[in-house]
Amino acid sequence: MKKKILIVDDEPNIVMSLEYTFKKQDFEVFIARDGSEALEILKHQIPNVVLLDIMMPNVDGYQTLTHIKNTDSLKNTKVVFLTAKNKASDIEKGLKLGADKYLTKPFSVKKLVSEILELL
């Protein structure tokens, strides 16, 4: 069975690179342009991993993560933050809320893939 990944980001150019990368890694890729779209998708899909930006309009990354953590059906879903926010306090906050990994932008595609694969 194909592994599922949900990419949540509001920057189309970045989404395009990520989509291409994970499709090549044989993932089934879902795309959400912000937190609320992500939550909509998560109603029907249980991805193995969610790649989450933080600064997004409406529902932001933290809120989305909290929702995932509070949803029983998603307890096996890993959450990885992928964000430009790289202050120690931001990282701490993200991990405290239950993120499995915290990766910062800009990122190396190869490294990102290996981090995700390692997690799974």
């Binding site: 150019n13 970045i14 395009m16 342009r33 800009p106 990122f107 595609v109 190869k110």
Partner: protein, 895 residues
């Protein structure tokens, strides 16, 4: 005029005075009673019958020698601001009720000193009161036309009854309060009234004699020059006369401060210190007016009656001679007024002294029974009432025995010389803290003895023995002991001579004894308080240094004896509240001792108050050094406390300022942090896109061609975005830090709008949005065209961004307002949510309600726009009541 109608006039007049005094007592707070004019007029009690009648006598017989008696007070008046104000302050603070109290308190509540001052005042004032009675009696006789009539018994003498009436008046209004330091407003009001009357009547008679009976001043002068020794009378006779004048001026200078009745009106009855300011010019003016006609009346009398008649009563005799009984009655009433004021105030002042400084401290203290405050205060009042009667009766007998022989003027001077003996301890003690009680006592006694020997003894012996051997040959026939020419000084008039010698020895002994004897600590304590009164008024009750053991309950018992339970309790609770002490305090401190002494001083005098309080406390002796140290310390504490309070106020102000600045800095810092954070985030976004795409392009060789092209396009897009962003950030920073200088030129707004429309026409066309330029007029004003162009482009591209493709319509318009042009850009897009209106111009602000994709932009566009508009002194805002779409408006002011 017969006896009975004269007595009737006197009684009617007295009834009127009673009424005035009664009214004033009833309306104690009214401004009619409390004003500088009443105060000044009450000071004119100085002008007694002596002035009214006696001056004319002197003017007739010795020329202008009557003047020094008024020059002294005139010279003293300007000094009141310094000296009298200090005395008033001290007296108010210590609830002083007489000059005896004042002097004895200065020397540490000295009981004997208070008594001595009282006795000197008695000696000095009794003849003076008798002088007044003499004047009443003699003018009465003149008015009644009975100059030859000699009364055989007291009961037959109308003067006796007049004296009794005066005593009743003084008793009634002078002893209403037990506390003698309370003001006697009734008496003062009637005295002020009488001062007006006596001045007016005197001026009227002066004018009548000078201008009606005679043909003006030059007529009088011409007639007068024809009389004998006119020249000698009206010129100063060389150095010797100069000395006489000097001493007379000095004498009256001292009298205006020291006479018990002057102390009473000028110090004790003073309501407000500022009244002094009026008095210092008004009082000399009063004296001047009083003396205008003196010399002319004297001349007129001399011309009319020749050298034989009694010159002192010219003012009365002249109108009578010309048959003007009405004017004569006015003169009589004026003189009577002068008498009443003087007698009442003098007896009032003396009776307070006699009771508080003589009778109560010497033997009557034990008579005051515990828990019967009403009876005790009755006792005190009765002592004073009896004193008043005794003094007036004594004065009457003095008059019977001596005064009949002497002139008004000489009796007045005897009084002045005796009273002057208080001067050294009074004045020097006020400014020199070394002056001691021993010195004061010695000086006074020695001075008094000299005055007695050189002035009182000669005429007493003369009156009793009938010979003047003593005068001519001196004591035991020794030449240098001649009473009027002591130690060979024979060129002075007897009063000046007595004044000179008594004062010389008085001052010398005061100084010598002050230097060789030191007062005890209490004395030094009060000396400091008096001399340095300015500093110690701030210390208030704590200015008294006291060490020992005392219980509040014991002190309260003493207070209750005189004030009654209710007043004592209230006074103590006020004290406890003032010093923030618990109401159940048991041990008394120095402040309570001082406070209680002050409370009692008004009722029983300072000496008695000290004795009473001392009887219930166990006092320890403190060394002088300790006293001075404690005083210094408490003074310093007050000063440093004040300084500390000020400093701490300053500090707390400073710290609030610092806090504000710090908060501002923190908020600025935070803003800067946030700004940098956001900038970094915004920069990272396109870089992330570029980096990812580039990596994929590099590593993935078998990537389909169309995807490759898309990635390359993305890279290009992100690079452009990055460039734009950097440009905007720099632009914004420049604007915000104010480093941007506008290139202000006269420009055509229409042209600028056209340029803006041209620059965005391509984007608009691409989205098929229609733009309408509504105003086609040209309008020229001053602005930076490049920058306003930037504003317009920003607003237009923003509008395009939020418009729906194809159906979007944008309108640009401008209109002229009051000294400004208002430019608006409106669209029919989705509009701006209400809650965002205040924030859209903040940097990097993004609407929360933006549920579609984030529109492309740096997040700085509107912030930059706002900065540019504000730099032009304009305003920018989003219109609030727009239906369907948004409308952003900005203004550029012009002149």
């Amino acid at each position: 005029m017969n006896n009975y109608s004269l007595i009737a006039i006197i009684i009617i007049y007295l009834a009127m005075l009673f009424f005035i005094a009664f009214l004033a007592e009833k309306k104690r707070q009214s401004k009619w009673v409390n004003n500088p004019y009443v105060y000044t007029l009450s000071l004119a009690v100085y002008c007694s019958a002596w002035t009214y009648y006696g001056s004319i006598g002197i003017a007739a017989n010795s020329g202008i020698d009557f003047l020094p008696i008024y020059l002294g007070p005139v010279i003293a008046a300007p000094l009141w601001i310094v000296i009298l104000r200090k005395i008033i302050r001290i007296s108010k603070q210590h609830k002083i009720s007489s000059i005896a109290d004042f002097i004895s308190l200065r020397y540490g509540n000295h009981r004997f000193l208070g008594a001595l001052v009282t006795i000197i005042c008695l000696f000095g004032t009794l003849p003076y009161i008798s002088l007044q009675l003499k004047a009443v009696s003699e003018t009465f006789e003149i008015m009644a036309g009975e100059s030859s009539y000699i009364s055989t018994t007291i009961l037959d003498d109308s003067t006796f009854y007049v004296a009794l009436l005066l005593a009743v008046f003084a008793t009634f209004f002078g002893t209403q309060n037990t506390d003698a330091s309370e003001k006697h407003k009734g008496i003062i009001a009637s005295v002020a009234f009488e001062s007006i009357l006596k001045l007016i009547f005197f001026l009227v008679i002066g004018a009548y004699i000078t201008f009606y009976l005679f043909d003006g001043t030059s007529d009088l002068y011409n007639q007068m020059t024809k009389t004998e020794n006119f020249k000698e009378l009206n010129t100063l006779g060389g150095v010797e006369d100069g000395f006489n004048w000097l001493f007379m001026i000095a004498l009256s200078f001292l009298a205006i401060f020291l006479l018990p009745r002057q102390f009473q009106v000028s110090v004790l009855e003073n309501n407000r210190e500022k009244h002094l300011k009026k008095a210092i010019w008004l009082f000399p003016l009063y004296l001047l007016l009083f003396n205008v006609f003196v010399i002319f009346i004297a001349w007129a009398g001399k011309i009319t009656f020749g050298p034989e008649s009694n010159a002192e009563y010219y003012a009365l005799l002249l109108p009578l001679e010309y048959g003007n009984t009405f004017l004569a009655t006015l003169v009589f009433l004026g003189g009577f007024s002068a008498v009443i004021s003087m007698v009442i105030l003098s007896t009032l002042a003396l009776s307070t002294m006699v009771s508080n400084n003589l009778i109560i401290p010497y033997g009557f203290l034990d008579k005051f029974i515990k828990n019967q405050p009403e009876r005790n205060s009755k006792y005190i009042k009765n002592i004073r009432r009896i004193s008043i009667f005794t003094i007036i009766i004594a004065a009457y007998f003095f008059y019977i025995s001596f005064s009949k022989e002497l002139s008004l003027y000489s009796i007045g001077l005897i009084s002045f010389v005796i009273i002057a003996q208080l001067a050294p301890s009074f004045f020097i003690g006020l400014f020199w803290n070394r002056g001691s009680s021993k010195a004061a006592i010695t000086g006074m006694i020695i001075g008094f003895c000299f005055a007695f020997y050189t002035l009182v003894l000669p005429f007493t012996l003369d009156a009793y023995t009938g010979t003047d051997d003593f005068l001519h040959y001196g004591l035991f026939g020794i030449d240098s002991l001649k009473p009027y020419a002591l130690f060979g000084i024979d060129f002075l008039s007897p009063p000046a001579h007595a004044f000179f010698w008594s004062m010389t020895f008085n001052i010398m002994s005061y100084l010598v004894f002050s230097l060789i004897s030191k007062g005890n600590y209490r004395e030094r304590n009060y000396a400091e308080m008096f001399v340095d009164s300015k500093n110690f008024t701030k210390l208030q009750d704590s200015a008294l240094v006291w060490k020992g053991e005392a219980y509040v309950s014991d002190i309260k018992n003493v207070l209750v004896r005189f004030l009654g339970e209710k007043r004592a309790t209230r006074a103590l609770s006020i004290f406890f509240t003032k010093y923030k002490l618990p109401p159940d305090t048991q041990l008394a401190d120095a402040r309570l001792i001082n406070f209680s002494e002050k409370l009692l001083t008004g009722s029983i005098g300072s000496a008695s108050a000290k004795i009473l309080i001392a009887s219930v406390v166990k006092e320890e002796q403190i060394s002088l050094v300790e006293v001075l140290k404690i005083l210094e310390e408490s003074k310093e504490t007050i000063v440093s406390n004040k300084a500390l309070t000020e400093k701490s106020k300053e500090l707390s102000q400073l710290s609030t300022q610092l806090k504000d600045v710090n908060e501002e800095l923190i908020s600025k810092d935070k803003q800067k942090d946030e700004f940098l954070d956001t900038v970094a985030h915004e920069l990272k976004t396109p870089i992330t896109g570029i980096r990812a795409a580039t990596e994929l392009l590099m590593d993935d060789e078998d990537m389909p061609k169309e995807i490759k092209a898309q990635f390359l396009k993305n890279i290009l897009q992100d690079s452009d975005r990055l460039g734009r962003l950097i440009h905007n950030i720099l632009d914004f920073e420049k604007l915000e830090t104010g480093r941007l200088n506008l290139d202000l030129q006269y420009q055509d707004l229409q042209k600028t709008i056209t340029k803006a429309l041209a620059s965005i026409s391509q984007i608009a066309a691409k989205k098929e949005v229609k733009i309408i330029n509504k105003n086609s007029h040209t309008f020229k004003t001053i602005y930076d065209e490049d920058r306003i162009l930037q504003v317009l482009t920003n607003l237009l591209s923003n509008a395009i961004k939020f418009c729906a493709p194809k159906t979007g319509i944008i309108e640009i318009d401008y209109r002229l307002g009051n000294e400004l042009v208002e430019i608006s850009v409106s669209d029919n897009g989705k509009g701006i949510p209400k809650e965002d209106h205040d924030y859209i111009f903040d940097k990097f602000y993004q609407s929360k309600d933006q549920n579609t994709r984030k529109p492309q932009g740096s997040g700085l566009g509107l912030a930059i726009t706002k900065q540019i508009v504000e730099k032009h002194n304009g305003k920018i805002w989003a219109k609030k009541d727009v239906k369907g779409g948004a409308s952003l408006v900005f203004t550029i002011p012009f002149k």
